[in-house]
């Protein structure tokens, strides 16, 4: 074979050896493991540390806010609760409104690096900001910012589904800040949260109350046991009751004509007037009260401060929209339950509960709640 051909072949062989050994050397072991890519990359991507922690992680320190949220419409957001019987989504959690993920809050330290973070930082040294640290993170919101956050979902806008609660800003609140009336953690309106101006003026209420004191007493302790005590009753409940008399939802031959001329402000004022008094104790029959206590389990979920767990002061409702029963006149309580039974008063929950009670039960329960302390 001619010399130059041999040299050429030798050269080709050498180059081939170099190329193949370089390939062996440069291609990582895991490259063709699962396909035409580096198999180890899967683990690296998966090793990144999650930053969104979920609402439950907030519970440890912010139990109070968490409880309010849990009970409120923002968690339940009922229309989203179910898809074909499977609960798959709740309403907005903590990290939706509180600008971004909790990350490693409350720690001030940067989040630990995962493999992927490390690799990106090393290969691209110009990244100055730690990739795991969120810029512009601000967990607390000022009330003005809060307005923007609320409107982001609740401003009336074409394209939003009808089920979404939406407001026309101008007619709803104008420039008012949302949190003046709404608790953002549980935004369905609760009158107890309203500032005094909105809640009603007790002094103005006193003038209107002049026509009430004949039956309900100067300080809300009624003149006869057939009339309810109003002293210390929840403001919300009083407003709701007066409104339902006015709308005809509740009918009483004395009360209905009394409230006819009251406007919204009057109702609030007079409710404010009576709710500010502290209630007294009426004394129910002790023997009956002891029997009534055993029957009161069904009432506790709503008519005790502990709510559903049935704990806390009995007869003092945790929800201001429900009436306090403690210290109420036994005769009035008796008549009310009877009214629910015979249908002359209607309430979605109370009607069905009252129908399970015998006349003796009602008598005992009335005595039990009449003998409870209302504070």
């Amino acid at each position: 074979m001619p010399k130059h051909i041999v040299r050429l072949l030798a050269l080709i062989v050498v180059v081939a050896i170099i190329v193949f050994s370089a390939k062996q050397f440069l291609i990582p072991d895991s490259f063709y493991r699962y396909g035409h890519y580096r198999g180890d990359a899967v683990v690296e991507v998966a090793s990144k540390i999650p930053k969104l922690q979920g609402s439950d992680s907030c519970q440890k320190c912010h139990q109070k806010e968490y409880d309010v949220w849990m009970a409120g419409i923002h968690r339940k957001a009922t229309r989203n609760n179910e898809v074909q019987g499977v609960v798959y989504k709740y309403g907005p959690g903590c990290e939706v409104c509180h600008t971004g993920p909790a990350g490693n809050h409350p720690s001030k330290d940067p989040m630990p690096l995962s493999v992927e973070d490390k690799i990106t930082s090393i290969t691209h040294p110009e990244i100055k900001v730690h990739p795991a640290n969120v810029s512009g993170r601000k967990l607390m919101l000022t009330s003005q910012e809060m307005r923007g956050v609320c409107l982001n979902c609740h401003e009336k806008m074409h394209g939003r589904p009808l089920e979404q609660k939406q407001i026309e800003i101008a007619s709803h609140s104008g420039e008012e800040v949302c949190t003046n009336c709404h608790n953002p953690h549980s935004p369905r309106i609760v009158y107890a949260n309203l500032s005094t101006g909105k809640r009603g003026d007790a002094k103005a209420g006193k003038v209107i109350a002049e026509s009430c004191v004949g039956c309900h007493g100067d300080t809300g302790m009624s003149a006869a046991s057939a009339f309810p005590n109003l002293a210390g009753q929840h403001f919300d409940f009083l407003v709701d009751s007066l409104k339902s008399f006015k709308s005809g939802k509740r009918v009483n031959e004395t009360m209905s004509p009394m409230v006819e001329d009251l406007n919204e402000a009057d109702i609030r004022n007079v409710a404010a007037y009576f709710s500010k008094f502290s209630c007294g104790v009426t004394h129910g029959d002790k023997e009956k009260a002891a029997l009534g206590k055993a029957k009161a389990d069904n009432c506790k979920a709503c008519h005790s401060t502990g709510g559903l767990y049935g704990t806390g002061a009995a007869g003092v409702s945790g929800n201001p929209s429900w009436p306090n029963l403690a210290g109420q006149n036994a005769e009035y309580l008796f008549n009310t339950l009877k009214a629910y039974q015979d249908g002359s008063r209607v309430h979605p929950v109370m009607t069905s509960i009252a129908k399970t009670l015998s006349e003796d039960d009602i008598d005992h329960l009335a005595a039990y709640y009449a003998s409870m302390k209302c504070k």
């Binding site: 699962y34 890519y37 999650p50 939706v96 992927e116």
Partner: protein
């Protein structure tokens, strides 16, 4: 017998009618048998483990016997999918913000892994006007680089119909982006998501152009392509992707298609769903409910 008849009789008949019909019958029987065998083979294939994208036999065996070492997770057990119920979307863009923070995406309206589009039909019009958070008016309305808002621009005009459509990577069964990648820096994981190996990405942006859904962008800071991977680091830990986690209306539904009771399986089973641009042949894994034909 006429001469003509003789002539006919003397001719060699290639095939009698009887013979022909008999053959036809045999042929039909054979074809039927073949089809049945074929179907049998097909069903046998369906029971075989699902092959990853462009995997050969050895790699398939490797991905089953020796899966990536992710704690308490085996990629052979899952087939992830996302459902999008556009009838619920309110266009709050919380998904986009959460995604950016979770994945350290650049904080402006133009770089994103997931985004939301608004389709609006003005009164009497048959064409949709489309805008997204990157529209200049929406950016101006948001007021800052790090917040994202839709403005209320159609407040005073008559609108026939309007709806929001969240978009994200479809994690296609036949991803065009993976096919064009020259370095093997992007690939389809066995459980569905298409991932990026940032150390191997050379920033050539072929994949950005190849994606028919515009789901990819280029991260100039890192010099690599950027895409949604359904928060692979979260789903392998049993969490929802960030956008699903924060969506306040339940528009996005995430789950495992291997589990017939998972939210996404139920969503697909119980609703009329469609995928975007089915004619591209990518067979996406994001299933939309309630979109118009204009949505692509």
């Amino acid at each position: 017998m006429t001469t003509q008849d003789k002539a006919i009789k003397s001719q060699k008949v290639p095939m009698s009618r009887r013979g022909f019909l008999g053959l036809l019958g045999k042929g039909a029987a054979c074809t039927g048998a073949l089809t049945c065998t074929g179907a049998a083979i097909g069903s046998a294939l369906a029971n075989e483990p699902k092959r990853g994208f462009q995997q050969n036999d050895k790699q398939l065996a490797e991905s089953i016997n020796n899966p990536p070492d992710i704690p308490e997770y085996n990629w052979n057990d899952h087939q992830w999918a996302i459902g999008v119920d556009t009838e619920r979307c309110i266009g709050c863009l919380r998904c986009m913000e959460a995604c950016k923070m979770e994945n350290s995406v650049q904080m402006d309206a133009f770089h994103h892994r997931t985004w939301v589009e608004r389709y609006t039909y003005l009164e009497g019009s048959n064409t949709a006007i489309v805008d997204s958070q990157a529209d200049p008016k929406n950016v101006e309305n948001a007021g800052s680089e790090t917040t994202f808002r839709f403005d209320n621009r159609y407040k005073d005009v008559k609108v026939d119909k309007s709806f929001f459509v969240p978009k994200l990577c479809n994690q296609c069964e036949h991803p065009s982006c993976v096919q064009v990648c020259p370095t093997g820096a992007t690939f389809k994981a066995k459980d569905g998501p298409v991932l990026i190996d940032t150390t191997y990405c050379i920033g050539c942006q072929y994949c950005v152009q190849a994606c028919p859904y515009g789901a990819r962008s280029f991260n100039e800071v890192r010099g690599v392509a950027e895409k949604c991977n359904w928060c692979y680091h979260r789903i392998t830990k049993g969490l929802n992707p960030a956008c699903v986690e924060v969506c306040p209306t339940g528009t996005r539904i995430f789950g495992d298609r291997n589990d017939p009771e998972s939210p996404v399986s139920l969503f697909i089973k119980n609703n009329h769903v469609q995928v975007l641009k089915p004619e591209m042949g990518n067979s996406p894994n994001v299933f939309y409910k309630g979109t118009d034909k204009e949505v692509v």
